[in-house]
Structures are given as structure tokens and as C-alpha cells.
Amino acid sequence: MSLELKNVEKKIGLDTHIYPTNLKLEKNTINILLGSTLAGKTTLMQIMAGLDNPTSGEIWFNNENVTGTKVQKRNVSMVYQQFINYPNFTVYDNIASPLKITGVSSDETKQRVGKVAELLKLSGMLNKKPNELSGGQQQRTALARALVKDSDLILLDEPLANLDFKLREELREELPKLFENRDCIVVYATTEPSEALLLGGNTATLQEGKIIQYGKTLDTYNKPNSLVSAQVFSDPPMNIAKIKKSGDQCSFLQNDIQWRTKLNIKDGEYKVGIRPHNITTYKEGNNTLEIKGKVLISEISGSESLIHFTNGNLNWVSLSNGVFQKNVGDEMNLYMNTDEFVYFDQNERLVSNG
């Protein structure tokens, strides 16, 4: 089983929503479409589902051209950002609805709904109507509807985006389990890098209607093929600086901070990307290269502290474990891990990891 997009392009009027795209998704994989709003995730999913047709290009499923085949005939299910359920059906009837239409016997329906309801912790509320449930439970119902039939393709379009923080964390942890042992291809769109890392599988980074990079999630994260891909897969955004390399010595162009690199590349000017968590407010492990900073903004997120600081005309973010408050304008030392620097050439393509 595989889903393949061949030169798929989508234009609406003069706007190109998806630039010619090639992508092959294999059986039993979770594939994450990672990109900001309007990157084309939803359009791509609708084309995969058959809800929308590409302007040009073909979609192949199991080595069969399914371009233009209606969604009803494709055995897909989809979960949306909004909690989409039939408003005057009970939870049970909602979950059973995809089965009823395909004519599954009532005994089997009962058994399958019961199973999926248990998996999603909905067993106690099968007789309720969707608007009697919390947002989290409504989305669980929508998920159950998607899982109850044996779809070949399950599409999830930012399913956690409308949930509050706690529910999101809770459901996020359950998600990988739900897709285990299923004979299908899962496509999951999200704007959050952390969600992609948690779900594992493969990740495609998208920007402005183009797939920038596709590969194993960790590979995409660790070896971004370009600065754009690295930016899409970094939250808060990656810090960027121009550097000069000569021999094994590197230095920022903006200041005289120097470090050694094992990187075997030509001497010259490069760009370096530093993820915020590779700059900390304390010296720890490999975080040793010192940089002075003046605090611009200091914010606390969960059990981590974000500090936006300037050094010359560098305008960077650091992310440290622990909760602490800095005053705006404070001068402080921060420490960078040079092993984790990502080097890009002048065209913003990856050179190699340091």
C-alpha cells in the first residue's frame, strides 16, 4: 500500500496554492505535514483525500491512478481542526455513521464502535449528544469516527489546535498508540514542531505551497536540508548569524567570538543556525561558548524560560530549563553549544553539521 503524488500542482485563479510536488507515502507510516498557516497543508490533504482535484499531476494509490476518483470511493477518513460531528446524533450513532452507510451488520457495528469507544475513553458517554460533551470529548468522537472504519488513508488536519493546553497534551500522548497496528497510511498536519517530534514517523516541512524536505522526522530535524526547512522545524525560530571560517577557526562576522570546528569545508563565509535550546543562561555540558546579551524580553513557558536578547545587531532567543525572570535591559552571559550549530552556505543550503 502506498500513496504517491506525482507532479501535483494546485492553482486557484492566478494563485498557486501547491507548487508541483512529488511525494511517496508508504504503508503503516505516520506522515507529518509541518508548516505554518497557509503553507498548503490543508490543500495537500484535500487533494490526497480526493475532496479536491489537482490542477495538474496525478495521485496514485496502490499503483493505481486515482486522480479524479471521488472521495466516497477511496476509503479515507479525516479529522478536522473544528470538532465535526453530526449535531443531533448520539456519540454512538456518530461513531457508527461511516459503518451504516457501507452496510456493516448491526452486531459488528456494535462491537467495533464499542472497541473504538473504549480506546478513546468514550464508553461512558455513548448516549450523549456532541454538544453535551467537552471539546476534548467532541474531538475524541470525531477521531473515533475516523478510526472505526478500516480506512486506507487517515488524514488529520491539526486535530489538536482547538483544544486547550491540558487536553492537547493528553490526547497528543495517546495519538501514536491509536495508529499502532493499523494497516493504513496516516497523514497528520500540524504547525507545531514539538508535535511532529512526539509523533515520530516521517515529516515533510512545507512552506508557501512547497515541500522543502521529506524524510524521517528525526533526520529532518537534525539535518535540515536548508535554512527554510530548519526554520519551519524550529519553535521558537532558529537564531541565524553570518560567520567566517578559516582553518578550524570560526567567528561571527558581527563580533569577535571564536570557536573551533571539526567541519571539513572550504574557508569562507557561511550562515550558522542555532536552535534556542542550544543557548542557555547557565554553563552546562557542552554549552560553553560564552556570549554577552542584553535582555529584550523574558518570558516563561511551562517549566522553561525564554529570553530574547541582543548582542550587537544579533537579535536572538535562548531557551533554558527552569523558571527564572530577568529584567529588561539586564546584561548577562549566555552559553552556546557549538557542537549543535547547523551550517548553511550562502544559498542557505545545508553544508554539514558541526
Partner: protein, 288 residues
């Protein structure tokens, strides 16, 4: 904690109180006053208790006009609500068609009621009116000023023309508020067009439809100007709906007592029907 006592606050309430008194309480109480007394000239009144109420409740004339009123209201609701939904469903969802349709739909609603009556009167005249003349030319024996069936037909047609737009606009607003994802989800399930209508669109339109039915019920139940100008309640009393009959009694015959009692009964019927309908709809809402 000590609360400060400041009676000056009452001054802020006075304007509202005065306004409500003048536009609601005083007129209503005047009617109540008439309803329980016999009114003579020179402001002489005599207490009659509930005599006028009994008289109205037992009067065949009242039963007849109440019956006509309910029949009329049910017929126009039965036509306008489904027709309005049907038109709303076929209206375009995007592009230049949207404002064009909305403006066209709003036109009848913007025309003053007596003008609607006058328009339809002339339109339907059997000798010179376009509708009346055409129907007769086609071989129908149509004359709304003389035949009861034709009078009803014309009155209902006029009301449908005038007010279906309101149902259309409300239904359209309800339909537009359904997120596209619902339709996509139904499409993925392979639901039929009819299933989409009954399982998604109707439940999602329930609230606006409740409002539409309430508004159309109240307006049609209190209809006066249009049939007054069109048929004047005739032929005979065939289209004398409650309000037309009421005005005849109050101003034509100057039976102030019975007319006042009838006004109050009329008022309570409207109130009761609206309350029962709304409560039923909202009780279902809580359940679902």
C-alpha cells in the same frame, strides 16, 4: 462591608420607566379599563366584570375570525418556511451572485405594507390587473372581490410574495454559518444530499428557523394592513382576520368594551402560542 445608600440611583431608572409607561403600560391599562366596564359618553363608566370576556369567548363571530386567522397563519407558514429554505439552499454561496440575490430578496421586505396591499389590489383586478386579467384570459373564472376562494388565494399569494424573503434571508444566514468541513465529512462518509440536509443543515439551522417561524407566526397572526387594502375583509367576512374584525368592532360599531376584551384575548393567544412554541423548541435544544 458597609454598603453606601444612595437613592439618587433611582433618577437613572426614571427615563426608562417613563418611556415604558407611555409606550406599553398606559395604553395597555386603558384597554384593560375598557374591557371591564361599560363606557358611556362624558367619561361615564359602569363596572361590568368579566361580562365582555364571556361574551367574546362565546361569540360565533369571534370563533369564525379566530378560525380564519389560524387557517391563514398555518397556510402561509406551511408555504413560506419550506419555500424559504428551498430558495436559500439554491442561492449562490460565493461570487457576484450573492449580493445580487440578497438585494433582490430584500426588495419585498422594504415595501410599506399598505403599498403592498395597493399593488396587489391593482395587480389582481380582474378587468385591468395583470394577474387578474391574465387568469381570466387563460379561462379561469377569477375575481378576488367576489369569490371567497379567489380572495384567499390572492391574500396568501401576496403574503408569500411579501414575506418568504425573510425566511430565505434567515435560512441563508443559518446555512452560511455551517463550516465547509461538515460537508466534507459527510462527503467522506458518502452521505446523500438528502442526508446532508436532514442530518447537518436542518439541525444547524434549527435556531434561525425557530426565530423565522416565531416572527412569521406573530406577523401573520396580527396581519392587518395588507388584507385591509386588498380585500377589506371581504367578500362578506371571508378574509376578515382577527385584527380586521377587531377594528370593525372597536371603530366601526364603537363597541369599546367587547373590543377591548377581544384585544386582550387576542394578545394572550399570541403570547401563549409563542411561549409554548419557544419552550418546546428550546427544551429539545437542551436535550440534544
Amino acid at each position: 462591608m458597609n454598603k453606601t445608600v444612595n437613592q439618587k440611583a433611582w433618577f437613572f431608572v426614571i427615563p426608562v420607566f417613563v418611556l415604558v409607561a407611555f409606550n406599553a403600560i398606559i395604553p395597555l391599562m386603558t384597554v384593560v379599563n375598557y374591557a371591564f366596564q361599560e363606557t358611556f359618553g362624558n367619561n361615564v363608566f359602569m363596572w361590568e366584570g368579566t361580562r365582555w370576556f364571556k361574551q367574546i369567548m362565546l361569540s360565533e363571530r369571534f370563533h369564525a375570525s379566530l378560525g380564519r386567522q389560524f387557517l391563514f397563519t398555518f397556510i402561509i407558514l406551511f408555504i413560506q418556511i419550506p419555500l424559504g429554505i428551498a430558495i436559500a439552499l439554491t442561492m449562490p454561496k460565493e461570487g457576484i451572485g450573492v449580493p445580487v440575490c440578497l438585494v433582490l430578496m430584500s426588495m419585498p421586505l422594504l415595501i410599506p405594507w399598505n403599498v403592498v396591499g395597493a399593488m396587489w389590489n391593482i395587480f389582481a383586478l380582474p378587468d385591468i390587473g395583470f394577474l387578474g386579467h391574465s387568469l381570466n384570459a387563460l379561462g379561469f373564472d377569477y375575481n378576488f372581490t367576489q369569490q371567497i376562494g379567489d380572495a384567499w388565494f390572492t391574500t396568501i399569494l401576496m403574503d408569500v410574495w411579501h414575506w418568504t424573503s425573510l425566511v430565505v434571508l434567515l435560512s441563508y444566514a443559518g446555512l452560511r454559518s455551517i463550516q465547509p468541513a461538515y460537508y466534507q465529512a459527510a462527503e467522506i462518509d458518502g452521505a446523500s444530499r438528502w442526508a446532508i440536509f436532514t442530518k447537518i443543515e436542518l439541525p444547524k439551522m434549527k435556531k434561525v428557523l425557530t426565530i423565522a417561524i416565531l416572527l412569521r407566526f406573530m406577523d401573520s397572526f396580527m396581519i392587518y394592513t395588507e388584507p385591509f387594502v386588498l380585500t377589506g375583509g371581504g367578500p362578506g367576512n371571508a378574509t376578515a382576520f382577527l385584527s380586521i374584525d377587531l377594528v370593525k368592532m372597536a371603530l366601526g360599531q364603537f363597541d369599546l368594551g367587547p373590543a377591548a376584551a377581544m384585544s386582550l384575548i387576542y394578545f394572550f393567544i399570541v403570547l401563549l402560542v409563542c411561549w409554548v412554541f419557544y419552550t418546546l423548541m428550546m427544551r429539545n435544544e437542551e436535550k440534544s
